[in-house]
Symmetry: C2
Subunit: 355 residues, 2 copies
DNA sequence: TTGTAGGCGTTATCAT
DNA sequence: ATGATAACGCCTACAA
């Protein structure tokens, strides 16, 4: 006689608890369970507790993969940052994660570490997850990344920088203007011999923009800025070394702007070691308004970039678009601005007024 | 008469490029495309280029959701950290992300911000992604989290702390021992009136462990430690305020240990403002060996925790388990240790030798 | 309100 | 080496 009917190909090795299991135990159909999960009010008050209990007893955990595949949308947002070591971005990411989480969305994280090509790789990876949205840092992208982002079905948010043509959303501010603001302030307090210290400005576009904004404004006032570009990450050590270099080349230096508060901190330390009085002999300004900037000696004049607000605004805008599919598809630009925070490192009772 | 035959329910609204599209264009079966994607060598050299070209022309991006669902495994690792603002964890996460990425795994990130209950929520969310592995911070978890982790089919790694019963992998070091090391060093240099400054030690278990290790060691030497616990995040401001407090209560203080270098930095600033010489009048030690710790004035004695190595080791171990399914299932504990880095903030030519 | 069944885009099994 | 086909677990249009 016929050998046993071909055993149905069973790949069900995963003895995972499924929605069907819950349905069976609650003696309802799987669709009722599905409905209950999405909107508990929608099922009759008689079966609701049964479903609830079955879920608890079985320890059912919904399979998001299956759900996302079926619904053709994943509750995940891909986020690309240059580096997590950078306090600016980690603050923004933290704010985003919190808000996404509140809406039940998962944050997928990737860091480029400023390596060329990594951005495109990360975006490609994210896209294969069918994310609800993508968040990238800055507005400058290589051709490959641009193509990927353009073809993405998900809205694309660019953060921390304005400019270029936005894909869907840009939330940031003008780094050029930030550099300008510091320069104007330094001109007001009588700076004459001026330097700018940055780190890795070949790959850190935004630091370079701040530098340019600073240098151009100074140049308009007839002051040429000596630019020092440290090779590695921004760090106090880079700042200290740069100051040492600068003092050799232009001992008469009287003002230094830095692309990052951690660099400025190093400048303060080196000045302290050398007995150079800040701000009396040397004025120092930074960028970032990090936790130590208010507390250091002297407190640091700096630019506060609203890192948290950037993350929050992006998350809010994206969640809105995700939940109102009819939302306007118009690209949107949000300038969150920045604030020049003047502290003692550029002010002193006896500010020089020599012309 | 019968109305038109039921149109086959088509939900194919997503005009996504699928593997079938690629197969059609390359005039092969979807199976071959799938095979090619996973192992290009496995298909005949005649059709390989056709598939490759079709992929390029169509701009095909594989759908990881479908793939993961079918394969019953997701190339994703869920990672729970207390906070991204903390430089320790962001360094570890960065190292992990890099290594995971190298193996084609995606990092899912969640932060608890030290809120009770958040850990369980995040773990639950991650589990619904069927991740390859889970990484959590520390070994203390509430009952709910423990239950979830225990029931997880994926290996669980605990980081930054050793102790308790490991689920599958623990990579960290003893914070108690770190506190002890600092205490012994301070005893050697003759500290007598001692305080410890921490931040939020009710929720930051590891900071509390360092504090306990420090205080107990001191107590054995007959020295009672005054403990100051700042309410918010660790910050220079918290350190400065704590020092001010301490000076009021015990003006004769001669040594302060901090649970974090950023707190110690604040202590240094406040001491500088008050004209208290470090280390001559006051010895200061921290924890973390952050970028500024080597550069500040005076350079800071601290404990270097190997944040990057923790991330790397975890990633390597997890990738190994993921790729060798036959790997040993034995729980494993890796003590990466720490290093006491002695710098000028606790040393001086004229170290007091009074008994 | 509840149930039925087709489809989401892959991978895995099996036959050729 | 290649192809046909059955899962994977859920969502959702539609019928009851």
């Amino acid at each position: 006689m016929s050998q046993t009917a071909k055993a149905p190909r069973s790949r069900r090795s995963t003895n995972r608890v499924t929605m069907d299991d819950v349905a069976a135990r609650a003696r309802v159909s799987a669709s009722s369970v599905s409905l209950f999960l999405r909107n508990p009010e929608a099922v009759s008050p008689r079966i609701a507790p049964r479903i609830k209990q079955a879920i608890d007893v079985l320890g059912y955990v919904p399979n998001l993969l299956a759900g996302s595949l079926a619904a053709a949308r994943t509750r995940a947002i891909g986020v690309v940052v240059p580096s997590l070591g950078n306090a600016f971005f980690s603050a923004t990411v933290a704010a985003m994660q919190k808000e996404f989480d509140r809406h039940g969305y998962q944050l997928l994280l990737g860091a480029t570490e400023y390596q060329p090509g990594r951005e495109a790789d990360l975006v490609r990876t994210f896209l294969s997850w069918s994310p609800t949205a993508l968040v990238v840092t800055g507005c400058r992208h290589d051709d490959e990344t641009r193509a990927l982002l353009r073809s993405a079905r998900a809205p694309v948010a660019e953060m921390w920088e304005l400019g270029e043509q936005p894909f869907d959303l840009q939330v940031g501010f003008s780094h050029h203007a930030a550099g300008e603001a510091v320069a104007r302030h330094m001109l007001e307090i009588g700076a004459r011999r001026v330097a700018f210290i940055g780190a890795r400005m070949d790959s850190d576009v935004r630091a370079r923009q701040r530098c340019e904004g600073f240098a151009r404004t100074m140049l308009k006032a007839g002051i040429e800025v000596h630019v020092e570009d440290a090779p590695g990450d921004a760090s106090p050590k880079a700042g200290a070394h740069a100051l040492a270099d600068i003092l050799q080349r232009m001992p008469e230096i009287d003002a230094i702007a830095c692309s990052n508060d951690v660099i400025a901190l190093g400048v303060l330390f080196e000045a302290q070691r050398r007995g150079i009085a800040v701000p009396q002999q040397l004025r120092v300004a930074g960028f970032g308004d990090l936790p130590f900037s208010e507390e250091c000696v002297p407190p640091l004049t700096t630019v506060q970039p609203r890192a948290t607000e950037i993350g929050l605004r992006i998350a809010q805008e994206l969640m809105e678009r995700a939940e109102l599919p009819e939302a306007d598809k118009e690209p949107r630009i949000v300038d969150v601005g920045f604030e020049l925070v003047v502290r003692a490192s550029t002010l002193s009772a006896n500010t020089r007024q020599d012309a």
